[in-house]
């Protein structure tokens, strides 16, 4: 860009203007499919005035214009209604399946009832290698004979020790269970077979499964504990309509958002505990082993470097750029 100063005048290509441009793109650009040239990202005038609803199925796409007799080689963007609208009713479009955190990040709003809402639960496991045991000397941590093999296996499938999984109101990802089943393997489970020989999409053993579910419970509890106020406090703030109105727009959105995250985590917790009971994994005998194999595994106080939300977003889009 610096090669063409006349086309990129620095008084206009400023940080504030880049922020404006990316705000427009993140909140309004649409990915068009079915183009002759394949997929393309586009900002479509007029169409982008339509507001978002998570419940809308309206889709937007491109096609060659003209009917089948009169193709003129030009392409156009076309939008069909996904349901009926009464006169004067607002027309909505779906911006895609987005969680509230993403909606708030990109479009500045959070939805009270959003079927696509999810909360990232961080699962971080430190395999108890000889080195880890030594570092925590005398803390009662036993060395895991499979630790090094687990690390190697994770490395070979391209996973790290810390993984974020999205939890939805009604489900959590199988990948999380598969990951934890692997991490909770003991010599009793492997009986000398290599770790790569097991199918982690199924229950390995009841002791292994108990350890897995217990560690998810611990991780979700930990995540909940990171919030300074409880969900009940948030609910009271929202319920007091007169007070709630006095808050700024940003504050209202933030309270709604954090309350929904907590609600979602609590629901996950209840579902997990029910599952543990139903499978009889809370029996003394199973638990003792579970206790043994979860020792010190959910790392407290994850201290990963926090990126700003915009940096994170740009990086995920393959744009590790410094717009300052």
């Amino acid at each position: 860009m610096s090669r063409f100063p006349d086309r990129f005048p620095s008084e206009h290509y400023t940080y504030e203007n880049w922020v404006w441009a990316f705000t427009m793109l993140f909140s309004r650009a649409i990915r068009l499919r079915n183009l002759r040239a394949g997929e393309r990202l586009a900002m479509v005038p007029y169409a982008d005035l339509i507001n978002h609803s998570a419940f809308s199925q309206t889709f937007i796409d491109a096609r060659e214009s003209g009917d089948w007799l009169f193709k003129d080689g030009e392409e156009e963007v076309i939008l069909y209604a996904d349901r009926g609208y009464r006169q004067m009713e607002q027309v909505y479009i779906s911006y895609g399946q987005k969680s509230n955190a993403e909606l708030l990040l990109l479009y500045g709003f959070a939805l009270e009832r959003n079927p696509y809402n999810s909360v990232d639960v961080t699962v971080s496991i430190s395999p108890r290698t000889a080195a880890v045991v030594a570092a925590n000397g005398g803390m009662g941590i036993e060395e895991d004979p499979l630790a090094q093999e687990k690390l190697d296996f994770l490395f070979s499938v391209g996973r790290g020790q810390t993984v974020d999984f999205p939890c939805y109101a009604d489900r959590y990802p199988v990948e999380m269970l598969e990951y934890l089943r692997l991490m909770m393997m003991t010599p009793e489970d492997t009986r000398g077979k290599p770790l790569a020989d097991f199918d982690y999409s199924r229950t390995i053993s009841s002791a292994n499964e108990a350890a897995v579910l217990q560690s998810v419970v611990a991780a979700v509890r930990y995540q909940l504990g990171l919030f300074p106020q409880t969900e009940e406090v948030d609910a009271d703030i929202i319920k007091d309509k007169a007070m709630f109105r006095l808050l700024s727009y940003n504050q209202r959105m933030a309270v709604r958002h954090r309350r929904n995250e907590k609600r979602l985590l609590k629901r996950t917790l209840a579902a997990l505990e029910k599952q543990i009971r139903n499978k009889g994994l809370d029996e003394e005998e199973v638990l003792s082993r579970a206790e043994g194999s979860t020792l010190g595994e959910v790392l407290k106080g994850e201290t990963r470097k926090q990126k700003t939300a915009l940096e994170d977003k740009l990086e995920k889009m393959g744009l590790p750029i410094d717009i300052r």
């Binding site: 990129f8 504030e16 922020v19 900002m43 507001n51 963007v77 076309i78 349901r83 500045g108 709003f109």
Partner: protein
């Protein structure tokens, strides 16, 4: 739902938001041949929507800025709008605007389009072909995404 902001003959003179709306509509009609009239004509059904400058979200009751309203009842599957790709901002339009030498073919789409947006709104301003479109794009404060919130 309030009916503020509907375009009609001579309505909205003097209100900058309504002027911007009608500028966008005439730009779409003249440059893109988009049919946005509420009247039907030979081979064209009346356009089913109208721009509203103020809308309110049904669930949260928060203001949701500009939006489109159904001007008449709309059935499932009806065509809502048709916009020529030539009026859209894409990587291709960005490369055309800023030069293929400055923006390589494999440049990230977001980056290319951001370059063009800044050019149309700030460098060219009123001289831009896209000025009527830029005129209805909100400011950062109106969108208010969290990545711009101060902490």
């Amino acid at each position: 739902m309030k009916m503020k902001g509907l375009l009609g003959p001579n309505k909205g003179r003097g209100n900058p938001k309504l002027t911007a709306n009608s500028r966008l509509v005439s730009w779409l009609e003249t440059e893109g041949g988009v049919y946005l009239s509420e009247l039907s004509t030979w081979g064209e059904a009346p356009h089913p929507m109208a721009i509203s400058t103020e809308t309110v979200d049904e669930i949260t009751n928060e203001s949701s800025g500009r939006g489109l309203l159904a001007r008449r009842s709309i059935s499932d599957g009806d065509e809502l709008l048709k916009i020529p790709l030539d009026l859209c901002i894409t990587r291709r339009s960005a490369r055309r605007a800023l030069g293929r030498d400055a923006l390589p073919e494999d440049i990230n789409e977001y980056l290319a389009m951001a370059c063009q947006l800044i050019r149309e709104k700030y460098v060219l301003g009123e001289d831009s072909f896209y000025a009527p479109y830029m005129g209805v794009l909100p400011e950062v404060e109106e969108v208010n995404p969290t990545f711009t919130w101060d902490v």
